[in-house]
Amino acid sequence: MSQKQIRVHIFPNGEIQAEVIGVKGKACMDYIEVLEQLLDAETVDSAYTSEYYETEQAHIQQQELNLAKNNAKR
């Protein structure tokens, strides 16, 4: 399992860039509020990275697989 990390880049002009690393799918969104509280900052822009889509796609595929299994049992 990959290490879950937060990388924070604080610039001399006060701006901040933050990345949540290794947190799968929508769970990474929970860290937005955590970061805002940690940094006393407001989010002005956000973007999902490729890992979000990979893990979210894997999650959807797993859900579909589970659904298919359940239907097969009936």
Binding site: Q5, I6, V8, I16, A41, Y52
Partner: protein, 239 residues
């Protein structure tokens, strides 16, 4: 990684680009204030949206676009009165169209003035990027001048000019410049204060992050000061 965020500390807003090359832009940011009879923020937002404009929270104020991305203004609650704050460089036509649209959407006269009167409302008041009074006070002191507190604001003397910083709620500070024979030198001074204030914000954010990370069950994996004096901190999240 899974999500990437751009953030601005609550001590700061990114309204203005200061610096030596931006004097003309700063002069054009000189403000004209139009008070309204809106009672609440909710009433303001609903009416402005009904009139066909946006009304989004932005750094302690509400931002509304007049046309496209480049033409916008802010609403601020000043001494309990919701006030539209336009740049003097904004076109009178656009402002008057907005005022008419908002009045029509409200079904009453929302703006106290019947029409936009830039000449009578003009004051040497400018927006700033500062939101934290204590940090601003500290920054001014570090500049070797003695700011004097005035309620939630402060005043200081720079050469012959008097600068008064005032704030309403958590809106960004505005600065009123009195007796400035050379507005450019005041601007250059304020540019330096802006730069130093932002450096202080960086330091405060760094210190808070390190202090709070431990309480959130996080450990510091690494930290590095880059060539551009930015700081990169990597924190481990314990599950």
């Amino acid at each position: 990684m899974s999500v990437s965020l751009a953030m601005v500390p609550v001590a700061l807003t990114m309204r203005l680009v200061m610096g030596k090359d931006n004097f003309d832009n700063w002069v054009s940011s000189m403000q004209v204030k139009e008070p309204t009879t809106f009672k609440t923020e909710l009433e303001l937002a609903r009416t402005v949206r009904k009139a066909g404009y946006d009304a989004e929270k932005w750094g302690g104020s509400i931002k509304t676009h007049l046309e496209g991305e480049r033409h916008y203004f802010f609403w601020e609650c000043i001494d309990g009165i919701w006030t539209a704050i336009f740049s003097t460089s904004e076109s009178r036509e656009r402002i008057e169209r907005l005022m008419a649209d908002v009045n029509e959407a409200a079904g009453r006269q929302v703006f106290e003035q019947q029409e936009f009167q830039p000449a009578t409302n003009l004051s040497s008041s400018f927006p700033t990027n500062f939101r934290d009074g204590e940090l601003l006070f500290k920054t001014l002191k570090e500049f070797g001048i003695n700011p004097v507190r005035q309620g939630s604001g402060m005043t200081c003397k720079v050469e012959q000019s008097v600068l008064t910083f005032h704030q309403n709620g958590d809106s960004p500070f505005q600065v009123t410049v009195q007796n400035a024979p050379e507005l450019r030198s005041v601007f250059e001074y304020l540019s330096d204060v802006d730069e130093e204030y932002k450096r202080c914000v960086q330091e405060v954010v760094y210190r808070k992050l390190k202090a709070r990370a431990a309480a959130q069950n996080m450990t510091v994996e690494s930290e590095e000061v880059m060539e551009d004096q930015s700081i990169v901190l990597t924190l481990n999240i314990r599950s």
